[in-house]
């Protein structure tokens, strides 16, 4: 119990020490790098959390995560159900999906901007495109692993199609969908920052580039910390959602 608390803290402390040592060494090479060190970063972070700007960037980024995730769910769950139910559809689409999934979503950026224009739309597209695969594949796996007795039970109750889908199939695959959501959030969070570096004027990705342009390197480091912490919290939320659903 104590170890569970002490060891992670020790790891974080060691990382902070390495960070300080690295920044110190780098400052010897290029003096401007002293702004990367933990102490100025901490000061910058303190400044930022007291202002409004950072919160607005965070709020926008989280909104984009939500929109991307919702689009991915709206597309991924029905496609996953179809893949899981229909051997035909699955055979026809598996190579395509495996192929598309391995293309970095960011490679679509120029095309997305050309088609959708600058602004939020291409970012949503990239996030949804990155997130749809884990959701689709996990949904399909969930359908394939449904307990056949559940379906038999539904049939023994003369369940309508709607009752079978809403009361058995969807809740029955929700744990898998939540696994997909957790993976999707991880991917979205990684794709978000570079996606926000093009064509938008707010968000954490934009904030990083902006800090660079302002030569505000401590702000830049602070933003990196914020991104890490938020990602950790998002993943934690997705995990606990999964646990709560299964009541384990």
């Amino acid at each position: 119990m104590v170890l569970n608390l002490v060891l992670p803290l020790a790891g974080l402390l060691a990382a902070a020490l390495l960070w300080a040592a690295g920044a110190g060494w780098l400052a010897g090479v290029t003096p401007v790098a002293s702004a990367f060190a933990p102490v100025p970063t901490g000061e910058a972070l303190l400044q930022l959390v007291q202002g409004r700007d950072l919160w607005e960037h965070i709020w926008l980024s989280l909104q984009r995560v939500a929109v991307g995730l919702v689009i991915a769910l709206v597309l991924g769950v029905p496609l996953g159900v179809l893949t899981g139910l229909s051997a035909w559809f699955s055979k026809a689409t598996t190579p395509l999906f495996q192929f598309a999934r391995m293309i970095s979503p960011l490679s679509w950026m120029p095309i997305a901007v050309m088609v959708l224009g600058v602004g939020d739309a291409p970012v949503y597209f990239l996030l949804a495109f990155a997130a749809v695969w884990p959701i689709l594949l996990n949904t399909a796996a969930g359908v394939a692993q449904l307990d056949p007795n559940w379906l038999l039970l539904a049939r023994s109750l003369s369940a309508t199609r709607r009752e079978t889908i809403l009361r058995v199939i969807l809740p029955g695959i929700t744990a898998h969908i939540l696994t997909g959501v957790r993976l999707a959030i991880g991917i979205i969070w990684i794709v978000l920052v570079p996606a926000e570096m093009l064509g938008v004027s707010a968000g954490l990705g934009y904030f990083i580039l902006d800090a660079r342009d302002r030569l505000a390197y401590s702000d830049l480091m602070a933003a990196i910390l914020v991104i890490g912490v938020l990602g950790y919290l998002l993943d934690h939320a997705a995990r606990s959602l999964h646990r709560r659903w299964l009541h384990t």
Binding site: N149, R155, S156, L157, S158, P171, A175, H247
Partner: protein, 266 residues
Amino acid sequence: MNAPAVAPSALAPAPASEAVLAARDLSFAHPGIGTVFEGVSLRIRRREIVALLGSSGCGKSTLLRVLAGLAQPARGEVRFLDAPLAEPHPRSALVFQQPSLLPWLTLADNVGFGLDFAHQPRSDGAARRARVAAAIEAVGLAGREAAYPAQLSGGMAQRAALARALAREPELLFADEPFSALDAITRAEMQALLVDVVHRWHSAVLLVTHDIDEALLVADRILLMGGSPGRVLREWTVDMPHPRDEHPEALTALRLAILGALRHSS
């Protein structure tokens, strides 16, 4: 022991001798694989516990599905309460080898699952809750209503599955090897519980098993299935009061006769 809160009397009570289920000349084939069983006729009377015994793969589960209305026979007819059966009857219920509870629902919601479905007999929420409470009480899980399946032991989960079937106040309970995944002590408890609750619920039971002792302890009548394609080869009446485990020696002769027939059945 409590009587069930709602007496299973929504349908006009039939005389106790009348058949709940009557099957005539059933046969069933899997496309491309062949005939599973053929020429099966059987009757299950009201409140009667019938064990269907047979070696592995002889078609017991398939026959149970056909009798439950979950699969259509190639030939023959199944009548439930004297009406042809085209789909599962609302007054029948299933128990499987695995509890197959829905992990996202509480015990109480699992037991009440489906009672509100469109094709189930209309009943208001209070009546449904009373049926669920009576069923949970009867299987000895009172106080556990809010637990989730992940928090139940295997034996408790199978009790919950039995309660789920009882909540439907079945005229006929179909049970496919319901206790074979349980340890010996839990299994014996569950066998006694099954006899107790179906007597109180006035339900008939079709119990698929390949455990002779289970059939002898529980059933009023034992059907032996075997052969290829499968048929009902023999039947025995077990005319002995419950609980039977107090006088196992009285069943020895019957046990040996069934064992001999089972050896020659496949």
